[in-house]
């Protein structure tokens, strides 16, 4: 997936995560994460973000995420949505 512009998805509501993705030329994935459950789930949220980007073929991006206790499925959905908006593409793999 080719990232074209900065994009975001999600909200600051409890149970959600707000994800912002900035395209990079190189340097891999950098992640800046804050979470209301950092101690218990910070590690897991980072894994899910990297996994999701990996599945979408995103290799270089600066990701910042503000988590308010989102479940794994929510994290995945918000990261995907942000990535597709970044790429100005439609996600036709849903379902």
């Amino acid at each position: 997936m080719k990232l074209l512009k900065t994009a975001m998805a999600g909200t600051m509501e409890s149970g959600d995560i707000m994800v912002t993705i900035v395209p990079l030329e190189n340097g891999g994935i950098t992640l800046d994460l804050t979470s209301s459950v950092m101690q218990q789930y910070g590690r897991r949220i980072g894994e899910v973000i990297r996994e999701t980007l990996g599945e979408l073929g995103v290799t270089n991006a600066a990701v910042s995420a503000v988590d308010k206790g989102a479940l794994d499925c929510t994290v995945r959905a918000r990261v995907s949505a942000a990535a597709f908006r970044c790429a100005q593409a439609e996600n036709d793999h849903w379902g």
Binding site: V37, Q40, Y41, R43, R44
Partner: protein
């Protein structure tokens, strides 16, 4: 008169010698006397000096003013100005409003704290290692027992009172027609007043003698200080505690009511206590309807009392209320006007050293921050390991009640409530009987007969392990909280043995 030594057994029956006349009788009216000879001192400083307080001693406070308390901060500020150091502060509990204590700890005025709970910035700082000596956490019953046994010796008690007469008869309300502030019951202060070496009452409302009914009698009081401000009425008492509208909590409450009925503890003449959490309060609402439907009454309700319990009393559904702490203004007003709404002290409420009202409970509904697969309950530290709660009467009532029901949502946001091991054991699983969540009920294997009765009533019973797995399937398995080795809090069970410790949270960057 016979020679004393000639009277047989005189040493055993009288020691004070022969009558030698009486001092002059007073002749002034009692009103004049009240104005001239009383215990009122001109200032807090004067009262502190009069008590003989010295560095290294223990001072105590009650928490009936909750978040509206202005007594603790004013007294400790004054002690700091007077140059006191190395004091132990033993409060029945502390709230977020007591954050100014942080500076007095840093400057060495306060070097040890004993309390039921901590909240806000003070709790955060202590969790980060503010104090060298660990904070001692006791239940309300454990504190009362420790004060009576001398394990917690109070040198000077500073007790705020919304009404007091010039001799020290003090109460949390007044039956005079006035609009003074009220906190209702002063149950936790009564133990301090009885056992402290010196007792200072701080009041903003000096009333005429005799201030009956009283919570604290004048013979337990040494000095009185009239202060402009002892607390913020809005923080001391809100109106009625509201019923929750949260559907999860309502479901939990409804299930808890069904569990009590099915377990056989809902009969004409039962006794109960409700915790102050949303779901446990809501349980009263479902019990009320069941009482009306079945035509049965509750003999007594115990504990922290809310407006809902007071309303059920006024409706004729609850015969007696035993009130150690009034949670809201409606409860305080009921204590003032209803003669069978009775104020009790902490010792009679919950001390294990003597007959206590908790021992007469059929059931108690309690909340929890965490419950583990051994049924241990934590109500003191948050899921991040930081102190943010209070033990209260949790272990006392769980141990005393024939059926203790702990109610909690299975998850709060992403945080699971049921886990392998609670961060801090406050109430041991040995006294927890049933756990009710929005996603299922678990019964302690110690009580197979309860599990059987629930099944017969059509309530599905899960193992606690199954509930834990359910929570984990939803939110994933949390990484453990990181602590340092340093102990910042020692948690005592109601018999004052050490049941757990709280360690300083580790905020160094994760590897």
């Amino acid at each position: 008169m016979d020679e004393l030594k000639n009277i047989p057994h005189i040493d055993e029956i009288a020691h004070r010698g022969i009558f030698a006349g009486v001092p002059p009788k007073h002749t002034a009216t009692f009103q004049e006397r009240t104005a001239r000879q009383n215990k009122v001192l001109p200032s807090l400083e004067a009262a502190i000096r009069a008590t003989g307080l010295k560095d290294g001693m223990t001072i105590s406070f009650h928490h009936h003013f909750r978040g509206g308390d202005h007594v603790v901060n004013q007294v400790v500020d004054t002690l700091a100005r007077m140059g006191y150091k190395n004091l132990t502060l033993a409060a029945s509990s502390l709230a977020a409003v007591h954050a100014p204590l942080i500076d007095h700890i840093k400057s060495g005025v306060i070097t040890h704290i004993e309390t039921s709970g901590l909240r806000g910035d003070l709790a955060e700082e202590i969790s980060r290692g503010l104090m060298d000596c660990p904070v001692v956490f006791r239940s309300h019953g454990g504190r009362a027992a420790a004060i009576r046994s001398g394990e917690l010796h109070i040198d000077v008690a500073f007790l705020g009172a919304p009404s007091c007469d010039p001799y020290g008869n003090a109460n949390g309300y007044s039956r005079d027609e006035d609009d003074a502030i009220a906190c209702g019951s002063m149950g936790y202060a009564r133990t301090d007043a009885k056992y402290a070496d010196k007792v200072v009452i701080l009041t903003n409302h000096l009333v005429r003698y005799p201030n009956a009914p009283w919570a604290i009698p004048e013979y337990d009081v040494d000095y009185i200080v009239v202060m402009e401000d002892i607390g913020d009425p809005k923080g001391i008492m809100s109106g009625a505690t509201r019923y929750t509208k949260n559907p999860k909590e309502l479901l939990i409450a409804q299930t808890a009511a069904r569990v009590i009925d099915a377990a056989g503890y809902f009969y004409d003449g039962f006794s109960m206590q409700m915790g102050s959490g949303g779901a446990s309060l809501a349980t009263a609402r479902f019990l009320r309807q069941m009482m009306l439907d079945k035509g049965i009454r509750c003999r007594f309700a115990l504990g922290g009392i809310t407006g809902q319990i007071a309303a059920m009393h006024e409706e004729g559904l609850i015969d007696r209320i035993l009130d150690v702490q009034s949670f809201d203004l409606d409860a305080a007003l009921s204590l003032r006007k209803n003669r069978f709404h009775h104020q009790i002290g902490a010792t009679y409420y919950a001390s294990f050293l003597s007959a206590a009202a908790v021992d007469q409970l059929d059931f108690v509904i309690l909340s929890a921050l965490e419950i583990d697969t051994n049924f241990n309950v934590n109500v003191l530290t948050g899921s991040d390991g930081v102190i943010r709660g209070a033990i209260g009467g949790h272990p006392d009532t769980a141990a005393g009640a024939s059926l203790s029901v702990v109610v909690a949502p299975l998850t709060r946001g992403r945080i699971p409530t049921i886990i392998d091991r609670v961060n801090t054991i406050v109430t041991p699983g040995d006294v927890v009987d049933v756990v009710v969540t929005d996603q299922g009920v678990a019964v302690n294997p110690r009580r197979p007969e309860i599990a059987e009765k629930l099944r017969q009533a059509g309530i599905r019973v899960y193992t606690i392990q199954a509930l834990k797995d359910k929570a984990e399937a939803l939110v994933g398995k949390p990484d453990p909280i990181r602590y340092t080795d340093r102990v910042v809090g020692v948690v005592l069970y109601r018999d004052n043995t050490i049941i757990d410790t709280i360690r300083q949270i580790d905020e160094s960057p994760a590897e």
